[in-house]
Subunit: 341 residues, 2 copies
Amino acid sequence: MEKVKMKQDFLKKKIIKIFKLLKLSNKHSLICANALINAELVGAPSHGLSRLKMYCDRIKKKVINPIAKIKVKKISQSIAHVDGNNSIGFVAADIAIKTAISNAKKTGIGLVAVKNSGHYGLSGYYAEQAVKKNLICMVFTNAPPAIAPHGALKSLFGTNPICFGTPTGSKVPFILDTSISMINRGKIRVAAREGGKIPEGVALDKLGKPTTDPKKALEGVQLPIAGFRGSGLAWMVDILSGVLTGGNHAGRVKDPFTDFSGPQNIGHLFFVMKPNLFVGNSFNKRIKDNIKTIKKLPKIKGVKEILYPGQNKFNRFKNNQKKEISISKTVLKDLEFLENI
Amino acid sequence: MEKVKMKQDFLKKKIIKIFKLLKLSNKHSLICANALINAELVGAPSHGLSRLKMYCDRIKKKVINPIAKIKVKKISQSIAHVDGNNSIGFVAADIAIKTAISNAKKTGIGLVAVKNSGHYGLSGYYAEQAVKKNLICMVFTNAPPAIAPHGALKSLFGTNPICFGTPTGSKVPFILDTSISMINRGKIRVAAREGGKIPEGVALDKLGKPTTDPKKALEGVQLPIAGFRGSGLAWMVDILSGVLTGGNHAGRVKDPFTDFSGPQNIGHLFFVMKPNLFVGNSFNKRIKDNIKTIKKLPKIKGVKEILYPGQNKFNRFKNNQKKEISISKTVLKDLEFLENI
């Protein structure tokens, strides 16, 4: 796949321009641009610019509200409920994680649920915001049907990630952001857009046969991790982020790429807490010791270092931070088209 | 394996008698007996009477404190820290879940961490207590080394279960209680004690070779679900239940069966919340709709019903509730020996 390089600032300005053309405020356009660029820098292009056209299409077709008035309802000093008013997911999630962080700083814990939101990119991006404020964080979101519940022949659960972040006493945060499917749906989409293949054993076609063709996989079923265990975890995430929050659930979150019949009404749940609640200032020493002990274990042949979740992503970010961003020709076309509406 | 049947009440009295002989109070002995019998009734004998002798051995060797003074430190209206004083895990966990439930009833959420505890049986047993009070619950605990971190050649994480429970609007609770290993360590222990085998693909021997011999598996390494994803989830549980709480972590929880050099100092974390926090009284309708929709999906050939986590356990409990309990000859010998100290 041929790639084009583009300066980060230049790209960011382009994205902001595009969202502003579609009536998003300065502030909201900046939030979206930052999230999309971050996804590219951490090496998750499936959640980056490859989705820009989709977001814009949804705004144009009035299933994302560009001038959303997001309401934050205070339930207690610790708890809040955000109504995203069908905003682009980035913006509702940004307000929600900031509210959760602020509540946790005040009371030790912050629990914030979001309804009427949309796809918000990477869960880890929000967890990282909490970790940077020296907080522990769990993030749950649901997503369009991709995985069949255990025993069922039809997809219903999203790839429903479980995300957990904690300070580590070093500048590299521990961010676990793992979908409950064998592969991210975003990765299948990128392969489909760019003519690539997907690994064996991660998806079935619509007839229930194994496939490595990303297009067939998108029509079919993604496989959950670990059978009934993964299916149960995906169900838990659907309940926590959908049933509990007032968001869509039970397979009713619309596919953002193909279903323009209405807003997605995705739900998210953010749970944030202070790491020193129970062990005071020794938390830093304890987590450092934890990581150090694990890193010292004997390694499998060929493994140089035992990495904790988030280290790879951090290294990619650091490496890419001052570089130009490589984008595919498909994305370049999207940008040129969207800028000239 | 030959089995012996015993009346529940008779068995319960025996267990209480045994614990009282070892200086546990009436109340604490009853808590332990209830938890052990429950494990048998829900069909998890690996967490039931097969462990009775181990608990007693640990008390005799002074690494479980039979007259523990458990302290509950109030941190806020929602948050508390329990110091188990090296009690048997059942007792510290019982106080902790009850505190979390009471805090959630008052403030919407309850977060209770436990340190200086021990093996407490099934996480689902505690989640169920919260669900019976119409609350949503998450429970985390760590455990002795059983699973190698991704990239490592040595076990360090426990089977570290993730447990989630929610009311369902029916009398059958949704209780997901899934270890992060391919198989419960308790099941391997039962197979080892009773001369059985374990399935292929769930464990390696101490040289790193696949094995179906439970004794070799206990000396070796259990495999995590889904490679780095499962390893990351196990690491998350170690941080939440160990690093955060003041419990042991990073592989320092002692094997209760083989290591009598000191208390286990296991940590647990209980997080409980009201289901109506964000959607009010419609929660019941929403969760019923969620489950109903999923149950209606087309099924894989041979599957009669799509079950949610906890249904099987509930059915076994209901089925066994009025029956005598089958115990193995090994357990019978334990009982006879322990009663006549």
